[in-house]
């Protein structure tokens, strides 16, 4: 008989279970992954709203913002996936691409729209 059968094992804990410090310990890469998923859902919502309630500047800005945000996070994944940027710079990449996204957003919103 193995030890596992003799002992009354408790089920494994999961990330965040019973741990008030878990969110504080969540790092940049994890947030990037999480926010990309959230922004993808937000794009869906804003796209539907954009098609049904046309030409509401606030709604258009929200859509543009979420698309830019999602694209920035997606670019980060692509750059690391293809080995174009070393994984060492993943946090720097987030900051740099975030800044680039903000600039592009400003150009599109104030310059073109």
């Amino acid at each position: 008989m193995t030890i596992a059968n003799k002992l009354n094992y408790r089920q494994p804990l999961h990330r965040g279970v019973l741990d008030p410090n878990r969110i504080r310990a969540t790092q940049a890469g994890m947030w990037a992954w999480l926010w990309q998923r959230i922004s993808a859902l937000a794009i869906l919502v804003f796209l539907v709203l954009h098609l049904t309630l046309t030409y509401r500047p606030l709604l258009q800005f929200c859509l543009l913002f979420t698309v830019t945000f999602h694209a920035v996070l997606g670019l980060r994944v692509i750059l690391i996936d293809f080995g174009l940027v070393h994984v060492r710079y993943q946090k720097l990449l987030l900051a740099g691409l975030g800044l680039l996204g903000a600039v592009m957003l400003a150009i599109v919103w104030f310059g073109i729209y």
Binding site: R10, P12, L13, Y55, D81, V87
Partner: protein
């Protein structure tokens, strides 16, 4: 020398007794720490065991961050109890709990069997490609050695697996530690089990979602994410044909007479060829379109010409009224000519002897603007856009006033400059 500082700290330690069962709970211990910088979490656990509760269970061996036995979740982040000093943890209350994703044996002790089972699946052993009488020489300055480099420092503590959320969501995922080990052998040119190992690694390497949790928590500062990305790239370059290499094709035998194509085969071939042809045509069309658009603009500036709207004396309108006059003219645009028949909105002020002509295209999406005599406004066909008689925007999406044409009167005719 590090600053000496001490004080009181509260430790919340996860407790689970297999004899009692249940879900487990946290026990709180208040300790007076003499020196935050000289006290490790392992020291704290020893003190709790000696001074407060002898039944506290935890695992340790080397005490110098070499064996990986004392891996646990310290303040929400995985780490080695023997390597983490109290000074690293800034909160007044410090939580200690067992590693995630492993069955809990007692208190902070987990069963590492799932970890080593997956480690075994990744084939963590070296099998030389060919028998060699002399030991192989791998120079430290070679690219191969640098690629492997620190990934060999893994002590199999399980911290990375505990931090990886994908290890929880995908039960078959080998996890960062096993894939890191796999990578150290895959990158080794002497590896005799390369194809088998790559096939196993490829089964699970795409479960990585680039969260970098493993890299963040690794006590040996290894980046399993980097190792997994290495496997990804290796899968792209060596993955195609891997199945054939693993199960080589049988010896060729004499070919039988070619059979006529079955309808299914011929249909598949036809669809394949059609898809390729369509792709080529669409690609060529796209390239052509882009080239023509880019080149035509570069080679030829848009032609501007004076277009007649008719004799000025015939253009009569009541005060405050705007006339809609259709202008007919031909225009060269790029490589082709087109006939235009478009309305021009003309506002006439006989008293001031002034003529203003507006482009009837909306400045938003280019839809048609018309003059509403009752409202005395220009109305836009799209989404309620409205312009004042002077062309400025009253409401709606158009971002700027109506475009005005340059006008001139010559030989009694009214002309507008049209591009």
């Amino acid at each position: 020398m590090a600053e000496t500082k001490g004080g009181k700290k509260t430790f919340k330690v996860f407790r689970y007794d297999p004899a009692k069962g249940g879900e487990g709970h946290f026990d709180t211990f208040d300790l007076e720490i003499e020196d935050y910088y000289a006290t490790t979490i392992l020291d704290v656990l020893f003190r709790i065991q000696r001074e407060h509760d002898q039944s506290l269970s935890f695992r340790y061996a080397c005490r110098v961050a070499m064996c990986g036995s004392c891996g646990m979740v310290i303040n929400g982040k995985e780490g080695l109890a023997c390597k983490t000093v109290v000074a690293d943890l800034k909160t007044p209350e410090i939580t200690l709990r067992p590693l995630n994703h492993f069955p809990i044996v007692k208190d902070l002790t987990v069963d590492m069997e799932p970890f080593f089972k997956k480690y075994e699946e990744a084939m963590p052993y070296f099998d030389p490609a060919e028998e060699a009488s002399e030991p192989a020489i791998v120079r430290p300055d070679t690219w191969e050695r640098k690629a492997i480099d620190m990934a060999t420092d893994c002590i199999a503590c399980g911290c990375c697996v505990s931090s990886c959320t994908m290890a929880f969501w995908h039960k078959d995922y080998l996890g960062p530690a096993a894939l890191n080990r796999s990578m150290t052998l895959l990158a080794d040119s002497r590896d005799g089990l390369h194809d088998e190992r790559l096939a196993t690694a490829m089964e699970s390497c795409y479960n990585c979602r680039l969260e970098f949790n493993c890299t963040e928590v690794c006590p040996k500062e290894i980046s399993p994410t980097r190792a997994i990305k290495y496997i990804h790239r290796m899968a792209i370059s060596q993955g195609p044909g891997l199945a054939q290499r693993l199960s080589p094709a049988p010896e060729p035998v004499a070919l039988p007479a070619p059979e006529p194509l079955t309808p299914e085969m011929s249909r598949r071939r036809f669809l394949g060829r059609s898809a390729v042809s369509l792709g080529v045509v669409a690609g060529a069309a796209l390239v052509g379109l882009v080239s023509v658009s880019a080149l035509s603009a570069a080679f030829k500036k848009p032609e501007c010409k004076w277009v007649s709207l008719g004799p000025l004396e015939k253009l009569t309108a009541a005060p405050g009224e705007v006339l809609t006059i259709y202008a007919d003219y031909s225009l060269e645009d790029g490589f082709y000519k087109r006939q235009e028949h478009k309305p021009v909105l003309v506002e006439m002020d006989r008293e001031k002897n002034k003529v203003t002509a507006f482009n009837s295209r909306c400045t938003h999406l280019g839809c048609t603007v018309h003059w509403d005599q009752q409202k005395k406004l220009f109305l836009c066909a799209c989404h309620g856009g409205t312009f004042f008689p002077d062309g400025t925007v009253k409401s709606g999406p158009p971002p700027r006033p109506l475009d005005r044409y340059e006008t001139k009167v010559s030989g009694g005719q009214l002309y507008v400059l049209e591009a």
